[in-house]
Subunit: 460 residues, 2 copies
């Protein structure tokens, strides 16, 4: 590793300049008038992969192409590491809120400011540079490596699952490494141990066949808005727990070890509260804010609509009311089961004088890693060496369905190790990524491949 | 009265033709491009009043003028009857839903179809024709008579209260007679004994300073939509009663006599339910549908808005939620007091982790008549003679603030006697008014003036 670290040190400037070139390409997947730029980013990346020593192909999909990089010289008996990232970026709008142009990267205070610097070009390109450093200095990689870089992550990855299913044999791997998330704090390397799943439903309550005059009919004809509010109120109990019968049946309790690790994190609830600007925080009794966000399921009203919502005092008795309600799920909850329990519960609590319709809109499985297994062990060694500090475990309240998809289709576990920092403005103006994490992270990845190969080789 | 009835019978055709002329003028007060027509209707009406034997003036206001008709020859010691009506009409749109053009009156099945036939040109013009019949056949009226016909009722009467206040002395009267409502059923004359008041508020609940990602923040940051639903649920108890402390303090219990009279009405709850198209009816326990609509207060959600209400599954944790809530009030509730109790209640039940703002939008006082007093007695005699059936008492769930305004400013009671029929499409396409009620009603009004004069003369 000494030579590899020296090589990376010697090529700091080049590695940064190349990243700048990558960031200058406005590969905004959501905008069809940017399609040529998105394609250019794919080709640029394939060229850089080839320079790094990977075989690279730009493979078409029904949308933007997948860039596939491969190095298979470790041989069929060696383990295979699959690396996933994406070369597309969010739109940069509103442009006027950027301090420097979104696609003209600039370093200020040790941060690279540009759209995609953190999400995910910077983090994806670290892998390419790590692979190159190892190949240039050791002539080989400690495992077979496959890089899958998609161009549609920011539009929901509509073609990724079909791609992975179609290429299942070629993508067969022992681990999927993903660098598209954040560290808990500056200087504090982090390993993601949980992602919440999602079950999203739309609830429609109706009574009269049309809106009525609230004077002429109010008091005698059911009010769907009132009934919907009452139904929504039954979703939680006084302790902030979800009161749908059976909801917690499949919820796995996390080990005391994991809960202790979360409690040990340097997290200031008051700072968090002030940051979101709420008069207070509120959630399930008996759990801390981080636990509520990472390891406990939720039920949130995402939208409400009924009757007159414009200006002034329209005296309407609404004929219908709608709520969007979503659940964040934790292992081993299933979106379909939760949607089913929700519908059964609403039908149970709905009064006979209204109609209720429940539509299932969207679902995604929760995911969790084993913080005591070989993947975290390998990553801990690699990260501690590069950052001078052992990683902490962090959860993610949101959902990244592709993680579960990779595990399901390829039958191998995922390892999520990210290098962005809190407040890095992913999806917002002035997105940034620190030069320090770009460089230290690359070093850590060189070591990570070896640590993983060692453990997966003996396991596989 | 024999001569007067014979006179009306002899002039049936003329009285109907004149009404048709009135209905042909599209005096749509809401449309400024119809202002010339609205002015033409006022002048036409003043001319007809003069022909009937009234002194008539078209008096300007800040909006459409008031037509004032007067006959004061009964002398200063005789009682004065003030008649209120309006010559403006609702817009006729959607025009394509009319079976015959809105401003080309046509008789089908004994009904005059035209905009304004029931609301209120037909009912207002009956008074003019009754006055004319009495003057032509008896040479006088049994009391001094003042007719106030406004041209802005369909736009909320913005200039009526200032007009009445300014003209307080000239409009001084012993009773205000208003014919702008409906009978309970065909052939069943009716007297309005109650109008509900209104208190309308807008409730805003907020937490975070902006919308958040429901995955990244859900479960730990308060959800204003959930909290608003919970707050709205506290507004009623399980028996459908309003659960705001103090809400019923000022509610007058109606006499057993009034409740018996309501119960005696031929009202089919199942037919009503099927008519509104709701799976069931619901309201305050212990009261019938008509009681819930006429003599009991209500609390209705008129509108709900929060978060994402468009298509699909946007995972937003809303920063705010809004509800429009209105109360229909009964004597002796006051809009200001109810809005105050509502705000105090919401502040009491709101959790400390959200902000609550309550805006008072609109208010109107409830009204009730004394069904056992001299006005109902006079009207009963007059209506029974004309329709061959004693009138029933009916309530109105909606609010007509001007009734209370007249009583307050002029210090005299109001008598609401209407001749439209249920289903007559006021404010809708194919508005109609029966020829039978136009004619019988006019006869009943001739008698009503006398019966009122007799009772008010001795009372005043």
């Amino acid at each position: 590793m000494t030579d590899t670290v020296a090589y990376l040190d010697a090529h700091r400037e080049r590695n940064l300049e190349e990243l700048f070139d990558f960031l200058r390409i406005p590969s905004v997947s959501a905008k069809s008038d940017h399609d040529a730029e998105t394609a250019r980013a794919a080709n640029w990346l394939a060229d850089r992969m080839r320079e790094a020593g990977l075989g690279a192909e730009v493979l078409p999909t029904d949308g933007h192409p997948v860039v596939l990089g491969e190095w298979r010289e470790a041989g069929p008996d060696a383990p295979t590491i699959l690396i996933y990232g994406h070369y597309d970026v969010q739109p940069a709008e509103p442009l006027e809120l950027w301090s420097s142009p979104a696609f003209e990267p600039e370093i200020r205070d040790g941060r690279v400011y540009a759209r995609g610097s953190a999400d995910d070009k910077g983090q994806l390109y670290m892998h390419v540079k790590a692979i190159q450093a190892l190949l240039e200095t050791t002539g080989s990689l400690p495992a077979n490596v496959v890089v899958v870089a998609e161009g549609e992550e920011e539009v929901g990855s509509p073609n990724l699952v079909p791609f992975v299913e179609r290429m299942r044999d070629r993508l067969a791997a022992d681990v999927v490494v993903i660098s598209d998330s954040a560290m808990f704090a500056p200087g504090q390397p982090s390993l993601l141990f949980s992602l919440r799943g999602l079950a999203y439903v739309e609830v429609h309550v109706s009574a009269a066949k049309g809106d009525l005059h609230s004077g002429a009919y109010g008091g005698a004809v059911p009010n769907p808005a009132t009934e919907l509010a009452r139904m929504l109120t039954t979703l939680h109990d006084a302790a902030g727990r979800i009161a749908i019968p059976g909801f917690y049946d499949d919820v796995v309790e996390w080990s005391e070890e994991t809960r202790s690790a979360i409690r040990a994190l340097d997290f200031d609830e008051e700072e968090f509260r002030a940051g979101v600007g709420s008069p207070g925080l509120h959630g399930e009794a008996g759990y801390s804010t981080l636990e509520r966000l990472w390891i406990r399921p939720t039920c949130e009203v995402n939208g409400l609509l009924s009757g007159w919502t414009g200006e002034g005092a329209k005296t309407v008795l609404p004929a219908k009311a709608m709520a969007k309600v979503s659940f964040r799920l934790v292992p081993d909850q299933s979106p379909a089961r939760v949607a089913e329990l929700m519908e059964a519960h609403l039908r149970e609590v709905a009064p006979p004088w209204v109609r209720v319709e429940v539509k299932e809109l969207h679902g995604g499985n929760p995911w969790k890693a084993d913080p005591s297994g070989p993947l975290f062990e390998a990553a801990s060694v690699a990260l501690e060496e590069a950052f001078g500090r052992a990683p902490v475990i962090v959860g993610e309240g949101g959902s990244i369905p592709i993680v579960g998809d990779f595990e399901r289709i390829l039958g191998c576990p995922a390892l999520l190790v990210g290098f962005a920092l809190p407040g890095c403005n992913m999806h917002a103006p002035d997105e940034w990524f620190t030069v320090e994490n770009y460089e230290r992270g690359t070093t850590s990845l060189c070591r990570l491949y070896g640590e993983l190969a060692e453990r997966l080789g003996s396991a596989g």
